[in-house]
């Protein structure tokens, strides 16, 4: 029961009068790939923002790796082991592709300021490790040829891949992906979903994936939560979700 890596317990947030997310209950076991789906405006991104500390829950609690992370700052939550991507891409757009990834190693760097100023001690060794690891990630995401290019000049699909590579550089236990396939063509989407399955195994990750297009996540997620108007209306395996009358109603509108 308490072995879940992430557990949201009745987490709620109110904006003005609007309950954007209410009584959000969710758990993710170590190693799982879980989907969070729902129509646009359902509160999926808001749920991510609650988990990652961008917003503080108005009530309820969020536990990660056995400790409460509610009320912690985003950087503290990342350091605790949760990394994310953004629905509306947020790269360091003027910087090189390589620097985008290198930045994310930040919380694993051990050399201090004095070693930085004088370039002694661990500085060169760790910088080399960071560069090598960053290049390895870029290779996995087929971005190694673009390492020196400015991030803003990448095609859209490549920018989305770079965001995932950057999140992985933070060495998370839990990876949160917010509509990673948004704006991609069907071929890119298919490749991306395969890649997500693959990196999960390769990096021993736990993944929570937001998607509004239900069909995309059916193939790769073990379990799915469905959100509508800030409330979880269904949860279960993809097969269960596909047959759930509430979900069919939410997605097809007004039937059932």
């Amino acid at each position: 029961m308490s072995e879940a890596l992430l557990r949201a317990d009745k987490a709620s947030i109110v904006f003005g009068g609007l309950k954007a997310v209410s009584d959000f209950n969710l758990y993710i076991n170590r190693g799982e790939l879980v989907g969070l789906i729902g129509p646009n405006g359902a509160g999926k991104t808001t749920a991510f923002n609650l988990i990652t500390g961008v917003y503080q829950p108005t009530s309820g609690d969020i536990m990660f790796d056995g400790r409460s992370i509610a009320g912690k700052k985003p950087y503290e939550i990342t350091q605790a082991g949760i990394a994310r991507t953004f629905q509306n891409i947020r790269l360091f757009s003027e910087l090189s592709v390589l620097d985008n990834v290198k930045i994310a190693y930040h919380s694993h760097v051990k050399y201090g300021l004095m070693e930085t100023f004088a370039r002694v001690g661990r500085y060169f060794k760790e910088e080399k490790e960071i560069e090598d690891e960053a290049m390895r990630l870029l290779k996995i995401f087929k971005l190694e040829d673009k390492a020196d290019e400015q991030a803003k000049n990448l095609p859209y699909g490549a920018q989305r891949r770079l965001e995932i590579a950057r999140a992985l550089a933070a060495k998370p236990k839990l990876l949160l992906l917010d509509e990673p396939a948004a704006g991609m063509n069907p071929q890119e989407t298919k490749e991306l979903m395969e890649m997500i399955s693959w990196i999960r195994k390769e990096f021993g990750l736990t993944v929570l994936l937001i998607e509004h297009d239900m069909s995309l996540v059916m193939g790769i997620c073990e379990r799915i939560y469905v959100l509508e108007y800030g409330i979880i209306i269904a949860k279960g395996t993809p097969a269960e979700i596909q047959q759930d009358p509430e979900v069919i109603r939410a997605y097809l509108g007004g039937e059932a």
Binding site: T52, V54, K73, P74, Y75, T78, Q79, A83, R84, F86, R90, L91, F92, S93, E94, L95, D99, K102, I103, A104, Y105, H106, S107, V109, Y111, L113, T116, F117, A118, R119, Y123, F124, E126, E127, K128, I130, E131, M135, A147, R166, A170
Partner: protein, 315 residues
Amino acid sequence: MNLLRKNDLIMLAFGIVLFAVLQGLISTKIIGSFWELNLIIIGINVIMSVSLNLINGYTGQFSLGHAGFMAVGAYVGVVLTTFFKLPFIVALAAGALAAGFLGFLIGLPTLRLRGDYLAIATLGLGEIIRIVIMNIDYVGGAAGFQGITHYTNFAWVFIIMLITLFVIKNFINSSHGRACIAIRENEIAAEAMGINTTKYKVMAFTMGAAFAGIAGGLFAHNFYIISPSSFTFLSSFNYLIMVVMGGMGSITGSIAGAFVVTFISAALANWPEFRMIIYALVLILLMFYRPQGLFGYMEITNMGIFRRILKRGRE
């Protein structure tokens, strides 16, 4: 990584050669006292613009009170050398510490502000520092501090400038510096990558202030008298012009900016009213044709020729 060390050694060698040549020309009086003074001013301005660039250009925080920190370094320095007869180097270090500490204290609350608000707050704080000094009789008040020993010379300025450049360059090219740059690029993403954005904003501000303090110490000990009027909002603005002209986020640019601005003001020393007009014109032209500044985000060490010399490139 060998490349990094090679880069450093080349820059260091270049710095030493440049120093030897200029010092030689000064010692043999080929460079007279007017141009020696200008070289000293350029060196001090390089320290000021590079340290301001750390805050404004690299970390993306808009500070307009840099002259205030320079004033703190200057006054702490002259008090220590004149009243307490402490060695120059101790006075410089104490000035840096005092300015850095003040930067830290001021940075904590103000760096929560964004953009325009931060600019106005730092501008106000710079003025407050100056007005406070103006009202302390112990340091001469508005009339200025007199009887300063002339410790500053070209060698002091050049060596400290070189150290400043290396320290800031090394900082920028580290995980700590990348954290600052990430804040400039996208604060939300930076935070999501595990960067304590408040800590790094305050760190950049503190470091910038400390180097401005050293520059202040060097500046003060180049004259017999200093007064608060040397550290007005207009001088803060002057340093900002160097940074913007040279290029935000470029050390090469800050050096170039310090050069150009110092030369313009030296050349127009007898027509101060033209100075502002020329600045304005240069800035307008720059905004039209090169809004990123002369070297926006670029370093001379990353440019074509240099790269080819070093055979840069990943295997």
